[in-house]
């Protein structure tokens, strides 16, 4: 009997639930000092003299370091295919200028965190405030953040396919809509952090950091500190959540690492919650203008979009990825013959953005799915029928989209049918109409999605130990996904052993082969497939160990979500009554864990709909800088969430898997946004941007503008 496909409970939870996990802050080293940062109170300012004399005199303070004290380059900038990115990497500590409120200006190293914070307050910094730049739509004509970045353009990208002008000229109808998708905070329970220690013997710097994998920190810190693999080791302990926010190392991690080299002492920095709000990169942050050209039967003839991404003061290595992904997925599950999409990635005086669960895909799904509903409204067609008329059909795979990615597999209409059946659409529509007749404000919405997942490569080593254990070294790296359980299932099937005999090793660049890591819902498709490949090599060779590096093109998970909402006209409160979720992630290794991913991602998607919004005031100060101001959903707010899977295997890997980590966060906002617009349609409301807060909805119900 096969282990893959079975709902094996998470074996790692025993360790976590007993409090036996080792997070970064649990690590103790002899002589470990603590760091705290002096942070800019201004969003945009010239940086003058830094006077740390009083701070240095405080008992217990070891050092106060500024940008010029550290031998480190800015973190590397990452590009995207076909895009032009500016050389605006995040400095390790601010130099000459600060470009967001909360940017680290100096690092205090002391015997305790409390003393370090006392000393940080005593550091006197001269700032000459400059005008903040807040709106990505107008940033091109605003004061420059970087002297050598014209028009504040950190990223420019565009793509045209087909005869777009012809499509719009031939259209029966054209619908257009402007969107604002606010920034979000990832808010993992365990914040970021690092410990750095330089071992003088061999000049090896070891950095423990709370990260999604050890490989990207190794590359990024190696670049910044100019250290190769032989003189740099990265260790990732247990991680209490990341959601994308621990993919690229923070500037603070590089600062701590450089300081440990400079001072010759081990240093820890554990980010506090305020720092996490202010300086951990944020997600989303996109404005967009989108237009569809339509035939009278609802077929989409063309799509035009301009995306204005609010990228912040610098480019982290992954900052450009999210808007690029949004652009590349704008045609969604639909066959659109002509497209024109452009990105203006603006420098703004805010903390940089970066991947957050979904990472560009929720924006794409929200934009195209809202546009399809608006098209249906314009043509007076059923939005479900408009979707059917435009889907990429099942026989078209592999399907190259007009934007240039190739969808490996998919069954879009089957997913839609499955979610309509799961949610009982006919009953829902009857109930909605009956509720409306009673004066209640109820709506139903559908959201389709496509999720780029996998890609690049991943590594694995499998070794049979004399005592019967199978030790697996993986380049993939868990931070909540359940690798210890699912990877053991995969290896158990390949080698015919019990999963309990499989031991997983990850997260230490000295212990595991070079790899890529855990992001973009890629662990099973890439890490799991590398394991399969290594295990098969082991079996074929009859030896005791084997390794593999598995490479593959992108795989595309997909799905359909259905949401029902009701708005309380007395208070404006939106209640999401139910969510039905159908995900096609290819072959499912563990249905229990897959459902857990769907539930968790859906809840984060609901948070984006209901309460989450990082708000900056006109000075560029983050107004929502604590959990008192920035709400996260609790169990009490959650609706019934029903999950089913359609399994269209990917042809690109031996497991046939795609990805399951993000679908709920991608499709839920689209489905809820459509449901909210449906609920408000009888009141003459055409579109509402998330989050769907009480005051906004109440005002719309009074007939006012949101």
């Amino acid at each position: 009997m096969s282990w893959v496909g079975r709902s094996v409970p998470r074996r790692e939870d025993v360790r976590f639930l007993r409090g036996e996990a080792t997070y970064l802050d649990d690590i103790e080293l002899p002589g470990l000092l603590e760091g705290a940062f002096v942070r800019s109170p201004f969003a945009h300012a010239q940086l003058g003299a830094v006077d740390a004399s009083a701070a240095r005199r405080l008992p217990g303070v070891v050092a106060v370091l500024t940008g010029s004290d550290l031998d480190a380059e800015a973190l590397p900038v990452g590009g995207v295919e076909g895009g032009v990115v500016a050389a605006a990497g995040h400095p390790v500590l601010a130099r000459k200028k600060v470009r967001y409120a909360g940017e680290a200006v100096a690092l205090v190293v002391a015997e305790s965190r409390a003393v370090a914070e006392d000393a940080a307050e005593l550091v006197n910094v001269d700032y000459e405030p400059l005008e903040p730049v807040l709106d990505p739509r107008t940033a091109a004509s605003a004061p420059l953040l970087h002297d050598d970045v014209a028009e504040n353009a950190l990223l420019r990208w565009s793509r045209v396919h087909g005869n777009v002008d012809g499509a719009f000229a031939a259209a029966t109808a054209v619908v257009g809509q402007s969107f604002h998708i606010p920034r979000l905070v990832a808010a993992p329970i365990e914040t970021r952090g690092a410990i750095a220690r330089r071992d003088p013997a061999g000049d090896v710097l070891t950095v423990w950091c709370s990260a999604q994998d050890p490989h990207r920190p190794l590359a990024q810190l190696g670049h910044s500190l100019r250290r190769d693999r032989d003189r740099l080791r990265v260790v990732v302990p247990d991680v209490g959540g990341a959601f994308g926010s621990k993919g690229a190392v923070g500037a603070e991690v590089a600062a701590v690492a450089a300081a440990a080299v400079e001072l010759g002492v081990p240093i820890r920095w554990t980010e506090d919650r305020t720092e996490n709000f202010l300086s951990s990169y944020q997600g989303r942050g996109l404005d967009a203008d989108v237009e569809l050209a339509l035939a009278s039967d609802g077929r989409i003839l063309g799509l035009r979009a301009v995306l204005y991404a609010d990228l912040g003061g610098y480019l982290y290595p992954t900052t450009a990825v999210a808007p690029h992904t949004t652009a590349m997925l704008l045609s969604g599950t639909y066959r659109i013959p002509a497209v024109s999409v452009e990105i203006f990635g603006a420098a703004t005086t805010k903390v940089p953005t970066g991947p957050y669960r979904g990472a560009g895909r929720p924006e794409a799904a929200l934009l195209i799915e809202r546009m399809v509903d608006l098209a249906a409204l314009e043509l007076e067609l059923d939005p479900i029928e408009v979707r059917r008329r435009n889907f990429v059909p099942p026989d078209a795979f592999p399907y190259e989209t007009p934007l240039g990615w190739t969808y490996d597999s998919g069954s879009f209409e089957r997913c839609l049918d499955a979610v309509l059946e799961l949610g009982e659409i006919d009953r829902l529509r009857e109930e909605r109409d009956r509720a409306r007749a009673e004066g209640r404000v109820v709506g139903i919405g559908v959201g389709m999605y496509v999720e780029r997942a996998g890609g690049l490569w991943e590594s694995a080593e499998v070794r049979l130990e004399p005592d019967g254990r199978v030790v697996v070294r993986t380049g993939s790296s868990p931070h909540g996904q359940g690798h210890e359980t699912t990877f053991a299932q995969i290896v158990a099937d390949e080698l015919g052993v019990d999963p309990a005999a499989v031991e997983l090793v990850w997260g230490d660049t000295r212990e595991v082969p070079p790899g890529v890591g855990t992001f973009a819902s890629r662990s099973v498709a890439m890490g799991g497939s590398a394991l399969v490949t290594a295990a098969r090599r082991l079996t074929a060779s009859g030896g005791r160990e084997a390794s593999a590096r598995f490479e593959s093109g992108l795989v595309f998970a997909s799905g359909a979500y259905l949401a029902v909402v009701e708005i309380d006209p007395g208070t404006g409160r939106l209640r999401v009554c139910s969510v039905a979720a159908v995900d096609d992630s290819g072959r499912i290794v563990n249905p229990l864990l897959a459902e857990g991913q769907v539930l968790g991602a859906t809840v984060q998607g609901l948070g984006q709909c209901l309460v989450e919004e990082a708000i900056h005031d006109e000075e560029g100060q983050l107004r929502t800088s604590s959990l008192a101001d920035y709400s996260l959903l609790t169990a009490a707010e959650l609706p019934a969430i029903e999950s089913r899977f359609v399994e269209t295997p990917s042809p690109l890997n031996p497991l046939g898997s795609k990805g399951i980590g993000e679908g709920g966060a991608i499709a839920t906002p689209a489905a809820v946004a459509n449901a909210v617009a449906d609920a408000l349609a009888p009141f003459g409301v055409r579109h509402v941007d998330p989050p769907f807060t009480e005051a906004k909805l109440w005002r719309l119900l009074q007939g006012g503008a949101a």
Binding site: R113, E117, E121, T571, G572, L610, S631, T634, A695
Partner: protein, 272 residues
């Protein structure tokens, strides 16, 4: 997120605590449940020279009925209100309000008197106590005095307590015989700070109402109470309860509508 340095005392006797509070050379703060003070310390928004921790002053840890009044000592926790049979039977509004205070962990530590002394107009218990005509017993080395809610609450996070004074007890008279009560509130998420709320006690045409997050202090809706007594409907009373509120800011129109809705719901629930 570490507090600035402070001195710390944990007296065993009330007199000892009052003597410490009377130190004129220092800014002294009282620590009881710590659910508001400790975050303020960690944010460095509060920077007292000294904390006087009441948790070992055993004589302050009581919640008891004496005849027709309920006496809440300075160390009684929110959870005590939630769990007390006396409170459920005689002062159900307090238990109804206590359920909305944060999360169970917060209610297990946070004290009723601490919440009152903190004087956050978005806090539940000061509003419920205002509706119940509670009396606030204050002690210092100089003597003692008793204040009403109107006398105690002066503004946002501001009370009539002098730096050397301690709120040692809240005395709550019994609500009218046969009255019903309700506490309703609106928060973004369960356990989050309330955006608006209302407490109501109703016995026929006689009703008392107090509003949460409707101004700088708990707002007793006396005009609405008078209207009800003269035969007005709940809806008319709800209109009157929010008519005079000095709400400001971009969401003032929505907050007024929300408060009206909550007053109406509280009256309907209490009067049902």
């Amino acid at each position: 997120m570490k507090p600035a340095a402070f001195a710390y005392d944990d007296p065993r006797e009330l007199d000892e605590a009052l003597t410490l509070l009377a130190r004129e050379d220092e800014d002294v703060k009282v620590l009881a449940g710590g659910q508001s003070l400790v975050p303020l310390l960690n944010f460095r928004l509060a920077r007292p020279d000294r904390l006087v921790d009441l948790n070992r002053v055993e004589q302050l840890g009581y919640l008891r009925r004496e005849g027709d009044v309920l006496r809440i000592g300075a160390l009684a926790r929110h959870a005590d209100l939630e769990r007390s049979a006396e409170v459920a039977g005689g002062w159900p509004l307090l238990a109804q309000a206590a359920c909305f205070v944060g999360h169970p962990q917060i209610r297990a530590r946070g004290t009723v008197c601490g919440s009152v002394a903190h004087a956050d107009p978005a806090a539940e218990l000061p509003v419920a106590l205002a509706a119940l005509d509670a009396r606030f017993h204050v002690r210092s080395v100089r003597g003692s005095r008793v204040l009403s809610a109107d006398e105690l609450f002066l503004g946002y996070f501001t009370t009539a307590l002098e730096p050397d004074e301690l709120l040692v007890e809240i005395e709550v008279p019994a609500p009218p015989a046969g009255s019903g009560s309700a506490f309703v509130e609106h928060a973004r998420t369960h356990g989050d700070f309330a955006l608006a709320g209302a407490a109501a006690i109703a016995a026929g045409a006689e009703a008392r109402m107090a509003l949460l997050a409707a101004g700088p202090v708990p707002v007793r809706a006396r005009a609405a109470e008078a209207l009800l007594a003269s035969g007005a409907s709940f809806a008319e009373a709800a209109d009157a309860a929010v008519a005079e509120l000095g709400l400001a800011g971009e969401d003032a129109d929505w907050r007024r509508a929300l408060l009206r809705e909550l007053v109406l719901r509280a009256l309907e629930e209490a009067g049902a």
